[in-house]
């Protein structure tokens, strides 16, 4: 197409009013989006991705203000448009999909009515036409039984279904531009894969342009044609997906790719390389390159004096990069290590062992007189072990029982049956209050949410010092040195001790929390999704830190995560859980290589991989996870399994097959058969030279 682009953002400048005065967060950003094109905007939190999206629909709120530049959409400048004309464009020509579908849907209206609102308000359609449109749209987003879905309220749908409804609502008016702001961030990996595939498919059918905002490089590869990388409000690099992901030019783009764990690498082969430092506040913007302070290739003078213009990369049309040294840097290569080295060590005494652990939650209310109480089997007959100095990773989607398992280990729940031994001591039935000080010292926990893991009322020094006092019986006067030492271990400056959590970034808070857990010099560290809410570069820092600490102290790490790439990187032993049972367990090399349990296979095929050359057969799971009360008698995965054999799967619990000394799966299909059916899903770990 040679005509004008659909969206032409020219030198957009946005500032936010703060107590310290007006802070420019977008200092001048230009991007073009042609009709029908999908453009991905990536970058870490705080880099201004959402601000760009909100500026386009002029929805910045009271604090934000467009201070300059033009936002040409279909030839009209959105930056100066009056409210009435904006209203005519919003929803009709530009639609938006946000991260949290529950917040986008009205909880007191059926989804059908909400879908019908669009055509009735924007196109003046009659009720029957609107209804027909809504039904057709629900079919397009592949919701089973659209008639029934129309009558449901949002809370009666799963997260994936809700997001499909939101996408249907956005597309029902046939917008020319669809802005999606982190549309799959809160979803499970298999659901995310299905939604991303849906977006791809709808895109080719509706010819809507998409501005796809995500922190997940993998999902951008799946959906987009072109990608822009943002850092501190600036577009530092843009180009086609292939250009950006095979020949990234900007050091920041390279840094993002280098710190991302992928399915093909683990800690022994290719360590993650985090980006040094952290994002500086927008208020202190240096005159030169915004990334200069963290860049390994910075050259004082050229990089730090004047604004850095974006220039086209030689012989790559459309690939623009804002780096003065872009042409001097050596070509980037995807990091991947040598051939896999099997984990050292054979059978050792387990430091922590879980045997036949079952946890059943009794529902509080009695259903009927005489009827037994409804019970939920959160964890069923789980057998796992980890030796000293090993990492046991437990991976699975939400509701698979991995967090319940962590709670039993740490004593916040007690086992219904079976048990847990820590260094030979049975603890499964011991609530945390009943555990001896020695046991408390032995097992500590790192939590998921950096915002809630530290008490906002206490300084970091107090939190760590208190842990030292309780777990090591240190005298109150003797704490400062211990606190300083622990801060050093987690690589925080000693001044952090005097600061409160609200002055720390997410990664710093998580590091302080790790220091607190280390105060008792534990033998077992249980980490429940410790990196899931962190940006990729920060995530790399924390993962490396956990790894280092573990190696230095010989502690056993029980690492609970939904992220297969992180697990692949960090773990020695992996357990894949589904609905409270262990589907597959084994050494990391074996679990991540065929033969897989069919559920592991589906999970692996769903992981978005930030490599345009990595094409795998997608295995999409049908339906949703059954509620814990409706689990089939046989294999829990039978209702969704793409390789289901027949009635035997529904009725008979699957046998546990020992495929190797350190690899077992619970499946009716013989291991040899699985090996024959399955192809490798993980990119080869041998470097391509």
């Amino acid at each position: 197409m040679t005509d004008a682009p659909l969206l032409d953002v020219q030198n957009l400048r946005v500032a936010y009013a703060t107590r310290a005065g007006e802070v420019p967060v977008i200092p001048g950003l230009s991007l073009r989006l042609d009709a029908g094109e999908a453009f991905g905007l990536v970058g870490e939190s705080g880099c201004g991705k959402s601000t760009v999206a909100l500026s386009i629909v002029r929805y910045l709120g009271r604090a934000g203000r467009i201070t300059g530049g033009r936002l040409l959409f279909e030839g009209r400048d959105l930056a100066t448009l009056d409210a009435a004309s904006l209203r005519a464009i919003r929803g009709r020509r530009i639609a938006m999909v946000y991260q949290d579908p529950m917040a986008s849907l009205n909880p007191v209206m059926t989804v059908g009515r909400q879908l019908m609102e669009g055509p009735m308000i924007h196109a003046g359609a009659s009720v029957s036409t609107a209804r027909a449109r809504a039904l057709a749209m629900l079919q397009e987003v592949k919701l089973a039984d659209p008639e029934a879905v129309m009558e449901r309220y949002p809370h009666q749908l799963s997260g994936g279904q809700q997001q499909r409804i939101v996408i249907a609502m956005a597309l029902i008016a046939g917008p020319a531009l669809l802005i999606m702001d982190e549309p799959t961030t809160g979803l499970d990996v298999t659901v995310e894969a299905a939604v991303l595939d849906l977006v791809r498919e709808l895109r080719s059918r509706h010819r809507s342009a998409i501005l796809f905002i995500s922190h997940n490089l993998g999902s951008v590869v799946r959906v987009c044609d072109r990608v822009g990388v943002m850092y501190r409000g600036e577009l530092v690099e843009e180009g086609s997906v292939r250009q950006i992901f095979t020949n990234p030019r900007h050091p920041y783009t390279r840094g993002l790719l280098d710190c991302l764990p992928t399915l093909g690498r683990d800690k022994r082969q290719a360590p993650l390389v985090p980006i040094a430092g952290q994002v500086e506040p927008a208020r202190v913007r240096p005159p030169g390159c915004g990334f200069a302070a963290r860049c390994a290739h910075v050259e004082t003078g050229r990089c730090t004096t004047g604004p850095i213009p974006a220039a086209e990369v030689q012989s790559e049309p459309g690939h623009r990069v804002a780096c003065v040294r872009a042409d001097e840097l050596v070509r980037w290569t995807r990091r991947s290590g040598a051939a896999a080295v099997p984990a050292a060590g054979g059978a050792r005494e387990p430091m922590i062992a879980i045997h036949h652990l079952t946890k059943v939650y009794e529902s509080g209310r009695r259903l009927r007189f005489g009827a037994s109480r409804a019970s939920v089997r959160a964890v069923v007959d789980v057998d796992l072990a980890a030796a000293r100095g090993q990492t046991l990773a437990i991976v699975g989607e939400s509701g698979c029982g991995k967090s319940t398992l962590a709670k039993v280990l740490s004593g916040f729940e007690v086992a219904t049956a079976g048990g847990v031994t820590v260094d030979g001591v049975e603890v499964g039935a011991l609530p945390v209050d009943a555990r001896s000080p020695a046991l408390k010292r032995k097992l500590q926990m790192v939590f998921q949410n950096p915002d809630s893991t530290l008490n906002p009322s206490h300084t970091v020094g107090y939190a760590i010092g208190r842990a030292l006092r309780r777990l090591q019986d240190r005298a109150p006067g003797d704490l400062a040195a211990g606190v300083a030492r622990l801060l050093e271990v987690v690589k925080l400056p000693p001044g952090t001790a005097a600061r409160r959590p609200r002055h720390l970034s997410g990664g710093e808070k998580q590091r302080a929390a790790i220091a607190r857990a280390l105060a008792g010099d534990p033998d077992v560290i249980v980490a429940d999704e410790p990196v899931s809410s962190l940006d990729v570069s920060v995530q790399a820092v924390i993962i490396n830190l956990l790894n280092e600490i573990q190696a230095a102290r010989g502690a056993t790490l029980v690492f609970i995560s939904h992220d297969l790439a992180v697990v692949r990187y960090l773990a020695d032993t992996v357990a894949v859980m589904y609905l409270g049972t262990v589907a597959e367990v084994g050494s990391v090399e074996r679990v991540f290589a065929a033969p897989y349990h069919p559920y592991t296979e589906a999970l692996l095929s769903a992981v978005p991989v930030p490599n345009p050359d990595h094409a795998v057969a997608r295995i999409l799971l049908e339906g949703s996870v059954p509620r814990a009360a409706e689990v089939p008698r046989g294999c829990p995965f039978a209702t969704r399994c793409p390789r289901r054999l027949g009635a035997v799967c529904d009725d008979t619990p699957p046998p546990v097959q020992q495929l190797a000394a350190d690899h077992r799966i619970a499946c009716h299909i013989p291991g040899e058969e699985l090996r024959r059916l399955q192809t490798a899903l993980v990119e080869p770990s041998v470097a391509r030279r």
Partner: protein
Amino acid sequence: MSTPATAEALPASPPAASRLRPHAWWRRLAALSESTPASVGVVIVLAWVALALLAPLIAPYPPNANDMAALAHTTPSRAHWLGTDQLGRDLFSRILWGARPVLIIAPLAVLGAAALGSLLGLVGGYYGRWIDLVITRACDIVLSFPVIILYMIILAHVGSSAWNIVGVLTLTKAPIIARIVRGMTLDLREREYVAAAKMRGESALYIMLVEILPNARGPLVVDMCLRTGYNVIIIGSLGFLGIGLPPPDPDWGGMVKDTYGMMMVWPHMALFPCAAISSLVVGFNLLAVGLRELGLRD
């Protein structure tokens, strides 16, 4: 993303100077001045505190001295700025002296209610189960009585004195504070830092007082401020009903009671004490509004 993007755009880290926190209280007061309602509230409340403290110095007459000569002209004059009451006592002096018991009883009762209520709320919210049930129901019972009647019953039995009023106000306000603190405890006890405290073997009392209560202080302080204002009203009402502070010492409510019969002739006698009560109440309310604004902003 539904939150305003400012939070995302500015990874908050204030300039190094404010991290040093030289005078935390002074900084907080300075922060209050950024909010208009709060500054007005602070000025009103501090003005009343200053007037009460300096009453012996600035009151032109002893509060209970009768000026028989003035009885002929009780209305405001050069000798009596706000006029005198029906017994010839200087209204200005009596209002100044009358501020003292109010400014002692009202905050003291709030502190008592906050201490008792926080304890009940923390224990009920933290332990749950039957302990919570007992505490919640007990609070509901106290709250179900019409307050003024409850005060009259209790004060009729124990007699009226400043200390008894503090006690009664403490008992009747504690359930309200307990409800607030209980609600916040239910939320805060699920935080991961509480789990971390349990994992290092802290006692329940430590967790309640050191891990949970400090994080409930924002709404608690706002509510205490509001409640101080309400207490001023109640102390006035008790005085008006004749069960406040025993005469002859000045008491704003009592002053209204003694003079409202002459409202048609000498309205100033009742109006000035009324104005004193309402200005102090407004002051506390504005302060509460300002504190809430500050709390929302942080």
